[in-house]
Amino acid sequence: MSGAAAAGGTEPVLRISGLRVAFGSGTPVVDGVSLSIAPGECLALVGESGSGKSVTARTVLGLAGERATVTADALELRGRSLLGLSDRAWRGIRGREVGLILQDALASLDPLRPVGREIADALRLHTPLPPRQRGDWVLDLLRSVGMPEPELRARQRSGELSGGLRQRALIASAIALDPPLLIADEPTTALDTTVQARILDLLGELRAAGTAILLISHDLAVVRGIADRVAVMAEGRIVETGSVADVLERPREEYTRRLVRAVPAGKPRGERLSADARPSDATDARGASGALDTPGASVAVSARARPAEAAASAPLLTGHGLTRAFRGPDGSRRLAVQDASFELRAGETLGLVGESGSGKTTLARLALGLLEPDTGTVELDGRPWSPLPERERRTRRSLVGAVYQDPLASFDPRLSVGRILADALSGGRHARPARVSDELVSLLASVGLPPSVLARRPLHLSGGQRQRVAIARALAPRPRVLICDEPVSALDVSVQAQVLDLLDDLQERLGLAYLFISHDLGVIGHVSDQVAVMSEGRIVETGPTADVLAAPRHPFTRALLAAAPTLSA
């Protein structure tokens, strides 16, 4: 790659050495980071959540935080030291020398101002241009980032733009003055795959034009597609640096290996994603690193053969011609799900993939009997399930469990983990953990959680722990079907790996059937036996996962596959 070659010859745009950042009197969250980026080069900073990636990036702009103490052996931008700069001097650098695309992309534009004005701000601050010319420049910028209808969009506010368009506007504002260095902190998180692909293309173009890019991502597949070099960060340190190919294909460090292994994309069904047993602090409420190992982790990592009888057995959950419409805020009727049918057998996973708004959640809610279909029926275990009066469904509710994207929201905030699970175990009769404590402990153990979490509230658990509690709750009534709506979308890759492994173990042990929803093809490819692709309310393609992914028939599926970044070169 050209960028990599350039890195050797020219003076680096950014050179950091021995950077330390601490907040207040706490231990440093960035601890001796050194890195450099050459013009036209893209350096990717990867690592688990909380490893200090964002703090490093913000420090380059002098925005580490209010109570941050920053020390470094060197912090140079195009040869100029940034240490001890005055506020004024910093302001001269921000936006002009370094552009920043913030991690919270969707909230990074002022919702009250037209995006055109937001972009023009950079020009206002750093150039003497009169407002009219700024306006023209902004339109040029918007065009250059591929914004459709730039005149209209410039006048709209961020709330009126879709996520992808917002991200483009944000990029436009960051590159307004063509800064030599662009820092992109998770630029594609929370975007649909197809949109993500377009954003990555855009970054690629910038890099080709000579802009140095510091890309921060936890998604190795994204990194693979665009970066020249990778720096792997863990607990405030850079543990490994090297070219993309070297690091991702021949990781030297155990940490990196684990990270690479956790990526589900391209991994066959049943292959373990998470690391082997690793001692970890179960009480850590901080996040990813607090995730626990599954008891089943000792199971050999091997592609597991699917039970052959699964395909033959009678379907457990079926939907026939399901249609459901909603009335939009402007009163118009809109079909969220149209004529969708599916079959789910015991021990089998049906993956449901599609873009945002395609109706995945609606279909899941129809299957759960939380929504009544306008037309069509759902059958559970050969008997009618929906539409039916809720009263008649209630006795058989224990057959179907659900796991949600946002586990926190799915817990009554007043209840402790113990009470949540006790309630689930006892069928709602007892809410006192003591009554069912043995069962509780073994339930927790089955999702790899220690008994100590019983007394805590979900708010004080890490994301991975919360999702395990959610799974435990879903398992408590001994269901035969689990409906998982984006169960890992809110999780860090490594935590995601653990949860996916856990689900896999449980399926093997308990013979559960999963309806597994995700917008991430990589995840779907890894977990499902059958896959259904949804677009605009319709299931456009279904079939065995391997077949669909290898030979997609529907153009939408093809587009989805094309857009999905993969780890393999």
Binding site: A64, R94, D104, R286, P329, G331, S356
Partner: protein
Amino acid sequence: MSGVGAPDRGSAAAAAPGPAPAGGRGRGPGDAGRIGAAARWWASRVAGAAFVLWAVATLTFFAIRLIPGDPAEAILGGPGSQASDEALAAVRAEYGLDQPIAVQYVRQLGRLAVGDLGTSYSLREDVAALLGAQLPGTLLLAVLALAVAWLLALALATWSTRGGRVSAAVGSGLEVIAAALPHFWIAIVLILVFSTGLGWFPPISTPGVAGLVLPVVTLAIPLAGFLGQVMRESLLDALEAPFTVSARARGESEAGVRQVHVLRHAALPAVSLSGWAFGFLVSGAVVVETIFARPGLGRTLLNAVTLRDIPLVLGVVLVVAAAYIVVTLLTDAAQRLLDPRTRAA
């Protein structure tokens, strides 16, 4: 300054749209539907306003009937009048007070529907004309007080969020105390200090600007306390929001960040609370107008209720309700204008 604390993965993803239909990935605006939606919004608001006015009139009409005291007597010179039986009967006949209550109600509504508010029993003047004379004073008072409260709250909120524990504590303390002060107590203290003591402002309302100062400040102080609390909260939110970080990353100065971004966000809740603030101010006006001897709706209302002056009470209540409706309508419209996010809801 402060950074974006995004301690775990959850935060980024939770901001993205999960099952909720609002915002988020790939949903463009429906431009065509917007004009229709706006029209529908206005139509429903106007219909709602008409309903509220009708209901207010109805409730008030029957509520006054519950008040002990004979309206006929109120017409005949108020309580304690020594009106003769004949005079009372004549008045009852003239005003239709001898009719069944339902008939009276329908007649009253009929008159109101054509904009006839009737004649005040106690002041013997056309209610519409009376209110026309009283309304501007109260409105002026309320609007000025609202403006002063905004400014005070904004100043205090801005000052107390400059950083530093002391200014934060002083600021929030002042807000809480201001919000706890009864109007009449403030009025009296202000009079003592600024009229009797310093002689800067007249202790009663006079036609000029000077006469407005104390009443306006009296009304504004508690309101500023309430608004300040809300403003400060949203100021702090905005100061930590990703978009201010990205503004700083563009090279915006601290002052610029506040001016261009943060202040608008701090002002938003103040705008959306205006309807509530208006009611608060009208309640306060009853007290303030009495103390400062300002002519106005508050004082009129108090007298009218005491004197069982049905047409006047009804008139004041309707005017206040109408003003409230207009204010909330305007605030909602202003909010829709200022903040596109509210349009979805």
